[in-house]
Amino acid sequence: MSDLRIFVPGDAAAVAVGADEVARTIEATAERIRTQVTVVRNGSRGLHWLEPMVEVETATGRIAYGPVGVAEAESVLRAAADNAGAHPLRLGRPEEIPFLKNQTRLTFARCGIVDPRSLDDYRAHGGYKGLERALAMTALAVVEEVTQSGLRGRGGAGFPTGIKWKTVAETAADQKYIVCNADEGDSGTFADRMIMEGDPFVLVEGMTIAGLAVGATQGYIYVRSEYPHAVAVLSDAIRTARKGGLLGDNVAGSQLTFDLEVRVGAGAYVCGEETALLDSLEGKRGMVRAKPPLPAHKGLFGKPTVINNVLSLATVPIILEKGAVFYKEFGMGRSRGTMPIQLAGNIKYPGLYETAFGVTLGELVEHIGGGTATGRPVRAVQVGGPLGAYFPRSLFDVPFDYEAFAKADGLIGHGGIVVFDDSVDMAKQARFAMEFCAIESCGKCTPCRVGSTRGVEVIDRIIANRDRVANTALLEDLCNTMKFGSLCALGGFTPYPVMSALTHFPEDFGAPPRLQAAE
């Protein structure tokens, strides 16, 4: 009889709530009760309130149990070994849990299912079909396929990925690069981390296809140092892919040469900005560069460079496998495909929710997310990280779409949603936005470097009720200067959280409450 296969996520979020200890307990218990068990450290399915979520393989699919603590590990193992039997923590088939069932998983199709350390498992679940098809196409046709899919930069800017690739493809040079921006610094976001830890080969494959499309032979994945688990899994995947003939010379037996290297950041938020990231990769201070020249013309080491977010690159394989038309059919307006949305903060059902663009903010927070974890009313929701706007409930009908969010003076950014209950002090949040900008500013441009510090001071005066009206006008003016005068999104977008807090929650700044339209 073959071993019982038990899945205990090795995802950092699961590990942070005890998954390693649970895995060890299961292994030790199995030995004691003489049951042959293989523990697979899969990625997370993204149902994070259920982590550590343990799954057992049966002839008819997997059965999940969760959240499993060390105390329950033994009884769960016994139940699992008894034909995936009854247990108070038994959740049934994970695919049938509504949170997962109602998703459209394209980018995250394999995350939580496969063994992230196994290339064979990746291939058994459709991996490398995208590259296979790409290798049979011309480079130009690959770029065209990505353009036609409507894929836009998932890092936040939403720039069409295919156009970026086309520019690099058309720029002649002796050396070109593919750079993956894995400096996922926004609070409330963890999708990049999850895919790197749960399905690293999809990123390797996506970058290989990018290399083929634009004629680049070297790629770098710049991962933030706060993600040691992701660094380990990715480095392992790169070694395995190289050994399997999928990186290096003659990729998959073709004429293609492409190799990858992981580089680790050093705790600078601004390095998530693409040009600062390139400077950092070059071994310099992570200073933002003025554009032009575009990285597509003069990027890493002055060479034409594709720089894309993890999710953009990890979505490329499925686009190549299933075709642009398949991908484009999801979504709304100019936001095509799916977005891996991350539900975080004070929310009952936190986790990863991949769905087609168009779902409303209210649906995400109230229905899918189940409202707050504390049970208190939702008061504000920050979308898109520390540079994203705070939305009040009155704007919950805004659909998740690049243009719709821009119209509501916000941004979807990298798709992170942080929920706050009614105990939040929005003046404090606005102050934090300025403070964070001051801490992380690269210092190159004045509006960001000086403006953020002055911003903290002005908000302090407003909070202390010193010349409140005049200082509020000053803050608005300062935000305007930062928004239009900063070199990059750090200084340029910090006004979003500040102004949205001030506009939607004036009472927290000592002003009379805003008259809301009847809900």
Binding site: V17, S187, T189, R263, A266, G267, L281, P350, P386
Partner: protein, 157 residues
Amino acid sequence: MPLSAPWNPDTARAIIIEKQTVPGGLLPILHALQEEFGYIDREAVRLIADILNLSRAEVHGVVTFYHDFRQRPAGQHVFKLCRAESCQARGGDALAARASARLGVAFGDTTADGRVTLEPVYCLGLCSVSPAAMLDGKVVARLDEKKLDALLAEAER
């Protein structure tokens, strides 16, 4: 946390020379030096400048730009508590105040006995299980007062 080796210029030189030809290798070099010694010694800056043919100002500029690089050794344990929005939404500020009061140091400082360095971190990507922290590279989440106290006790031992 593995104990760092005492500063040794010969080891440092070997580390730098090993990565000398890595394109844009300054960050990998600094990471390797910090891994070995626990911080970036002043003398290391001079060595790097010599070997990579950079000015000392350039190297110093890089060392001081990034939050990760230390110019003096940290405490025996490093406790990083996330101070970003998602953790704020789950009571992170109160935990931060508690950690600071219990250790008797401000964020960025090391306890007088040299045991614990308390640092802020702006997001560990564990926002779905906030509040989160990292003790010597080990991640811990769904923190509450009890869990925090236990972690700090572990660090202080």
